[in-house]
């Protein structure tokens, strides 16, 4: 029965197929074919739509990944540029420092000599340093030893013992160091080292209107240091009893222990 039904259906379908084949040339069949083709492609597009969306999404992900890689490369370039920028700034600062050096030379009418700090020893850490310039280079006792920081000339110490090739310098932090100074260019006193980081300023008048953070500079009265060299900032003030005046504690702008080279201000004979 089944075989017979299959045979009947086969004959029917074959007949339909043959008829369709024969009718292929008709205009109406061509129109129907075009309509079916249109429907077929619309259906295909409908089925492909989610896949296309997924493809488009994956393409975007790829683009994002490329952008991520590019971003990493750009970050590396930025780092290189930042390093170059730092170098440029350093050079700019160096140029500024050298310009100030020239100006300072004019200002003091003296001669500057650069020196390098030799070995420092723990037992004389606050007291002194040795520099690689001596009598041969025109160094004498009690010459100002300076450094430059933030475009400011800063007191490092003074020469003490001068040898042929090197000189011992008494540092500003040494208890042997004394220097005439003033606060805000008005109130005079004497800066002393204390064999520790903190400096001390004595002999300030009772009327001195000073406060923490005020600048201390050399006054030029001691005969060793010219006026206007920076020493440090006031960190504490103490008023003495019986109108004996005021004392102040200070910190240096830049401690000599943190530098590697100094400048010696030679005096003209």
């Amino acid at each position: 029965m089944n075989r017979r039904a299959a045979l009947h259906v086969f004959i029917l379908l074959t007949a339909i197929s043959m008829t369709i084949i024969c009718l292929n040339g008709l205009q109406s069949v061509k129109i129907i074919k075009n309509i079916l083709l249109h429907v077929f492609f619309q259906a295909s597009r409908g089925v492909e739509y989610p896949i296309d969306k997924i493809n488009s999404f994956s393409e975007r992900i790829n683009i994002m990944l490329d952008a991520y890689d590019e971003n990493i490369k750009l970050k590396e370039k930025v780092k290189v540029l930042e390093a170059q920028n730092i170098l440029m700034k350093y050079r700019e600062t160096e140029i500024q420092r050298l310009n100030e050096l020239l100006n300072f030379e004019k200002y003091t009418a003296g001669k500057l000599l650069a020196g390098k700090i030799l070995l420092q020893f723990p037992d004389t850490y606050f007291a002194g340093i040795n520099i690689n310039k001596g009598k041969k280079h025109g160094i004498k006792k009690d010459l100002p030893v300076l450094s430059v920081h933030d475009s400011k000339w800063i007191v490092v110490g003074r020469t003490e013992e001068v040898y042929d090739d090197f000189t011992k310098v008494v540092l500003i932090t040494s208890s042997d160091f004394r220097c005439a100074a003033e606060v805000n260019g008005k109130y005079c006193g004497v800066i002393k080292g204390q064999d520790r980081w903190e400096l001390r300023m004595d002999y300030l008048s009772p009327d001195a209107e000073i406060r923490e953070g005020d600048e201390i500079t050399t006054s030029g009265k001691g005969g060793i240091f010219p006026p206007g060299l920076f020493i440090g900032d006031i960190t504490g003030i103490k008023t003495l009893e019986f109108s004996k005046g005021k004392t102040a504690t200070a910190k240096s702008y830049r401690y000599p222990q943190d530098i590697s080279s100094v400048y010696l201000l030679l005096k003209e004979d």
């Binding site: 299959a6 197929s17 079916l36």
Partner: protein, 149 residues
């Protein structure tokens, strides 16, 4: 059967174009026709073949009805093998699919000659037949596991 045809249609459109491109490809419609015929007999085979053939006729923009005619014949003849051999045997699946694909390809070749269309390459025919023969057991198992079985 409608569900099987719908799934076949979607899978044919969606997946197979990503697997193989060019003239070499998997013809899921023909494999399904063969497997339906082997599982359920000539009646289902020829109806499946007629419908899938008609869809392909529309898709290929050739002579409408030509593939439907050949597929109907393929479905009917393959269905006559039902019950005569161990249909679940992988080797049998491969051999039947291979032969049907070759015969189907030759029919198409001849039909194209009759209608004055450029003939398709017979070199790729055997490659296609082998490839589809390898897929056939998998499709058979899937169809067996569904309502079609």
């Amino acid at each position: 059967m409608l569900r099987v045809l719908t799934v076949t249609f979607i899978v044919q459109i969606l997946l197979l174009r990503y697997i193989i491109s060019g003239e070499t490809g998997i013809n899921l419609f023909l494999i399904v026709t063969i497997e339906m015929a082997l599982i359920k007999g000539s009646l289902y085979g020829e109806v499946t073949g007629f419908i899938t053939g008609l869809i392909e006729d529309v898709a290929h923009m050739g002579v409408i009805g030509s593939r439907a005619l050949i597929r109907t014949l393929v479905g009917f003849l393959t269905g006559s093998l039902k019950g005569k051999f161990a249909a679940g045997n992988i080797l049998f699946q491969f051999i039947v699919t291979f032969i049907v694909f070759v015969v189907h390809g030759i029919f198409i070749y001849l039909l194209r000659l009759v209608f004055g269309l450029p003939p398709s390459s017979l070199h790729r025919l055997f490659m296609n037949a082998g490839l589809n023969g390898l897929i056939a057991p998998l499709i058979y198992s899937l169809l067996k596991g569904t309502d079609a079985g």
